[in-house]
Every structure is written in C-alpha cells, then in structure tokens.
C-alpha cells in the first residue's frame, strides 16, 4: 500500500521534478558561463578581487530559483489532491491518516533534497573549478538559506493548499509571505554563517505543519 502511495506521488510530480531540476541546472549553467565570460573579460585576478572585496556575488541570480522550485513543486504535488477533494479518497484507505500525509510530505522533501542536492553539488563543483575554497565556502554559506527558503515555501504552500477555508488560506499566505523573506535577507557573502544551522532545524520543524491543514480538510472544516 505504501509503495502505491509513493508511486501515486511520483506520477503526479515526476515531470515537474525533472523540469524544475533542469531549470535549476540551466540557471547554474548561465551563472558559470557568466563567470567564465567575466573571468576572461576583466581578468581573473580583478574578478576574484571584486568577489573578495567589493561584495560581488557571482551567483546572485540563483537567489529566488530554489524558492520558485519549492512553490511550483508544492502546487504540483498538493493541488491535484484538493481538486474534487481527491485527498479524501486517500483518507478512506485503511492507513493511519497522519502517516499518509507525512509520507507524502517526506516524498516531496526527499524529491526536493535530490533536486537541490544535484544543484548544490554542481554549484560547488563548478565553483571549485574557478575559485579558491574561501570564495566557494562563503558562496555555499550564502546560498544555504536560499535553498532552505525553497523547503520552507514547499511546506507552507502545502499547508495553504490543504487548508479548506479561504479566509484562513489568505491568513496563512500573509504569514508565509512575511516569513519566507527571513531566509532571503540581503547579506554579505558568508553573513548567514551564525544562523544556517538554526534555520535548518527550524525548517525541518516546519515540515510537520501541513498535518494541521490536512486534519482540518479531513474533518470537513467549513
């Protein structure tokens, strides 16, 4: 039964997941094409200097990509469930309802981890080809909250979609819109180093939030 649920999730999201990952890789391609171009046109030493001392973030166009991916992925996975209240069919299965929701969420989270993981690995690998580890490490610290924003948005958008009452959906949207910028505050390269760990833990804690909406949906809250 669990395998079937996971397979159902896979059917729903597979093309979105593949396309979003390809989009991410495309953006990385653009970033490093830009790096190669700028390295040649402004000399590598001047380019390094601009990164080290003038605050140039060669990867700045990446900032909202994981967020966008998280939002689209949440819609791809949860929107079909509320069309004609299809998720109610899942709730009628002889399975623990919380567990079903958690498995769906876990599936989505693992999918995003794989997709983001590929991007982060490519970002790190290509970065290490062009730059010294000091530059790459600072870049990794800076992009971490951007990817966490993707996870945060995924969990909260899922909560919004599963919420049955429109008024509360709007309230949750307002909170989400105010909350997500915490991950995206402008910062110098490496400026997020004291907070990345706590943000990661915090994002993991948010993951169970959609149980609340699912519960309200299940009970037919009006």
């Amino acid at each position: 039964m669990w395998k079937s649920i996971i397979y159902k999730e896979w059917i729903k999201v597979r093309w979105y997941l593949i396309m979003l990952t390809l989009l991410g890789i495309l953006v990385l391609g653009i970033i490093f094409l830009g790096v190669q171009h700028d390295k040649i046109f402004s000399n590598a030493n001047n380019y390094w200097y601009a990164i080290l001392f003038n605050g140039l973030q060669y990867y700045s166009i990446l900032k909202f990509i994981p967020l966008l991916m998280g939002i689209v992925f949440a819609f791809a996975q949860y929107y079909p469930e509320i069309v004609n209240k299809r998720i109610k069919l899942t709730f009628h299965l002889p399975l623990d309802e919380d567990k079903v929701i958690l498995i769906m969420m876990l599936f989505g989270m693992v999918s995003l981890i794989i997709s983001y993981g590929i991007m982060v690995f490519l970002f790190w690998g290509a970065g290490s080809f062009f730059f010294a580890r000091e530059i790459v490490n600072a870049a990794m610290i800076t992009i971490t909250p951007w990817f966490l924003a993707g996870f945060g948005a995924y969990f909260l958008i899922a909560t919004i979609i599963l919420e049955p009452i429109w008024l509360y959906r709007i309230l949750y949207t307002v909170i989400t819109v105010l909350f997500i910028p915490l991950y995206l505050t402008d910062s110098v390269s490496g400026g997020y180093s004291p907070i990345n760990l706590s943000l990661t833990v915090f994002t993991l804690v948010i993951s169970v939030s959609l149980l609340f909406s699912a519960y309200r949906f299940r009970k037919g809250e009006m």
């Binding site: 080290l52 080809f129 000091e134 909260l156 909170i175 910062s187 997020y192 804690v205 939030s209 609340f212």
Partner: protein
C-alpha cells in the same frame, strides 16, 4: 502530532509578527535624532558645536557663546581652510606655527571604524602587492594569498597554488618564528593607496608580524609587543604624514598605534571605547588628534596633542529611541522584537530584543481576556486552551495573532 503541528504554525506566526510588526512600527513612528557636531578648535582650545534647534542650525561653543557661520568656520581654520583662504580670513600662523596649506594637508587624517567592520566575515584571501616595483601606480597581482598551515599563493587564472612563491614566503615566516595558522590578517587590499606596506599578521601565538613583498622577495618583521597584549582588530591606514601603520584595538578595548619604520606600540589615553556598539572616528590635524566614540545615544570625544597626550575631553548623551515617546508607546504594545540583521554586525542571526520594563503586560492581560471571550463565543472550553493562554501571556500580541490564525479546534 497534529496538535504539535498547530503549535509549530503558531510559533512561525510569532516569529514572523515579532519581526514584521515592530519593524513596521518603527518605520511609521520613529523620529530622527540629530546628534550634535563637535569639533575641537585650535583657536579657542576648546570645543565648538553645531546643533539643530527648532529646525535651525546653531553654532556655538560649550560656554554658550553663539557664532555666525563664518565666525564658527574661523574657529576651525584647519577644517575650513579652503573656505577661509577664499574669504581671506585664514590666519598666517596659529600658536606661533606658520600655516602652510601643504603642511596642513600632510597632517590631516580621517579614520572611521564601524562595529560592522569588526563583526563581519573576512575574505581569507588577500592580494600581496609589490611594494617597490619602481612604478608610480600599484598593480593588482595575479595571485592571492592565504595563511593556514603555510602561506599559500593561489593564481586566480589557473586556481592553483604557486609552489615556488608559497615556499619562499612560508620559509621566510618560519625563519622569524611565525606560528601557523594566522589569527588575523590586516592590510589595505587596494591599488588606490599612496604606497604599499603589505600586511600585519597575528600568528597562532598572538605575535604580530609585518609581511610585505619587496622586489619579489618576502619582507618579514616581528613586532615586539608588551607582555600579554592581544589585539582583536587591526585597521591599517595610509595617511600623508606616514607616522604610523595602523590603529590596533586590544582585547581590552584600548586603542593603540604602531609607528612607521621603528615599530613602536603607543597607547592612546582613551578609555571607555566599546567597539561592539560605538563607531570610532579619529580626526588628525596639525595640532591634535580628536578621537570620537559615537553610539546610538551618546558621543564621547577625547582630544590628544601630537605627543598623544590628552588635552581635552567631552561627552554628551541624548534619549535613544526607546526612551523617546515613540519608544514608550512601543513598550506598551510589543513585549519584544526580533530581527535578522543589526546595524552593528554584518552577520545575520536571530537578534532578540526584550522590551525594557513590563508595560506590555497591560496589553497582554487585555488580550488574554479577549481570547477568553472569543473561546466562549466559539463554545470551546477555555480549559482546553490553557497553552494558548500561556502563549498569549508571554508573547502578547504576537501569540494572540498566532493562536487566532490557527484555531484551536480539535474534534477528539
């Protein structure tokens, strides 16, 4: 589990509103506070001041004598030298010293160190300039160095270590007893300076070294420091008088300078500097150094003569925003505020500020009563909402919004 998920959502709301609402409040109601401008007058041998009063700019001295703008500028001839030369009011000599514009300019210096400069991620890689190339302009080198288990130069074009150069500098540092890795590297990593003096590096044993490159060879000098003296920040300077290499801030927040060529450590007789919350500004002129320590609600100035002895000092404070009307009202509404960035640091973290006093308790109690009636209206037993009451009691308006957004309505 679902109940926990509700509290997680309430927590998110508390964090969000604790960040957003106080931010919006200050955006709407915070009033500017114009700090006075004080300068030490070499004519009066005392401070003169510019203040905004009722929308007007008032010039005076500390005794209360008021000046016109031009009279005020004449009290500060070294600061307004160009204006005084144009208006023909520049004195020929001051305190028996003949005034020559070149001499005045050579002795003029300005230095600023913000708390944010100290509390910020360091690049870890630095360009080592050729300090005696024979050229007028400095050139950006092709490599950048790090000092970890050895001194390594990394070619930016190939992203590989330049072994020969790295070996050369590592051996030179080892020869002078440098203990790897470095704890701090300070310099002026720009080609826009009058000349290059390389870097000042603190090694693993807290010893201070001067390292530069002279005709492609390493120059290393170990600076003798008084016993137990440790530095938390070094800011190198490039002033025309070439008297010292840098300002050094000790771990006990004392300000030192390191004199050029003879490497003498001299302490400024300045007390009470707080590098975490105060901006340090040091103005130098022909006769004095004025050391300013500027906080959000106060200003301290110590004036030194050219022998670095204290000749005058002044301090003033004014109400900060929490002490003003808008801050008092804030104290009645918000029990705390949270932000991810602060003016005194480049690092992002959760900066939690509890509001001073307990005026916010009034609103918290009001919200508790209101929540009680809301639960009654929703026909929910208030006993089931005990945790909600605790949340509102502690976090006030933030928790109130949180528990209302995510209703405590469970069917079992």
């Amino acid at each position: 589990m679902k109940k926990i998920s509700r509290y997680i959502l309430v927590l998110i709301t508390i964090i969000t509103t604790m960040t957003a609402l106080p931010g919006l409040y200050w955006l709407a109601f915070e009033k500017p506070n114009r700090a006075p401008y004080l300068f030490y007058s070499c004519i009066n041998n005392g401070f003169v001041v510019q203040r905004h009063q009722n929308g007007k700019l008032i010039f005076s001295d500390l005794k209360g004598d008021k000046y016109t703008r031009s009279k005020y500028e004449q009290k500060l001839p070294l600061l307004y030298i160009r204006q005084l030369l144009v208006s023909g009011t520049m004195p020929d000599s001051i305190h028996g010293v003949e005034i020559d514009i070149h001499k005045v300019n050579r002795n003029r210096s300005f230095f600023r160190l913000r708390p944010k400069d100290i509390s910020s991620p360091k690049p870890g890689l630095y360009p080592m300039f050729e300090s005696r190339s024979g050229r007028v302009n400095l050139q950006m080198p092709k490599d950048f160095f790090r000092i970890k288990s050895r001194m390594e130069f990394i070619n930016a074009n190939t992203n590989t270590v330049e072994e020969r150069k790295s070996e050369l500098f590592t051996s030179a540092l080892q020869h002078y007893g440098f203990a790897f890795p470095s704890k701090m590297i300070a310099g002026i990593p720009t080609t826009r300076k009058s000349c290059d003096e390389g870097y000042f590096v603190i090694d693993a044993n807290n010893h201070l070294f001067h390292v530069k490159m002279v005709r492609s060879r390493p120059y290393v000098k170990r600076v003798k420091l008084p016993e137990g003296l440790r530095f938390k920040y070094i800011a190198c300077v490039d002033f025309s008088d070439k008297k010292y290499y840098n300002y050094l801030i000790s771990d006990k927040n004392k300000i030192y300078i390191l004199t050029q060529d003879d490497y003498k450590i001299i302490r400024f007789p300045v007390e009470g500097y707080n590098p975490k919350r105060e901006e340090l500004r040091i103005f130098g002129d022909l006769f004095n150094y004025s050391v300013y320590m500027v906080g959000k609600d106060h200003l301290k100035i110590v004036v030194l003569n050219k022998q670095y002895q204290k000749v005058d000092e002044y301090q003033e404070s004014w109400p900060n925003r929490t002490q003003r009307m808008e801050g008092k009202v804030f104290g009645y509404i918000f029990p705390a505020e949270l932000s991810l960035s602060k003016w005194y640091s480049s690092y992002n973290k959760f900066y939690f500020n509890r509001t001073a006093g307990f005026h916010w308790l009034f609103l918290n109690i009001l919200l508790l009563i209101l929540y009680f009636f809301i639960l009654r209206k929703r026909k929910i037993d208030p006993k089931k909402g005990i945790i909600d009451f605790i949340i509102i009691g502690i976090t006030g308006i933030f928790g109130f919004i949180g528990v209302l957004c995510f209703p405590n309505k469970f069917y079992d």
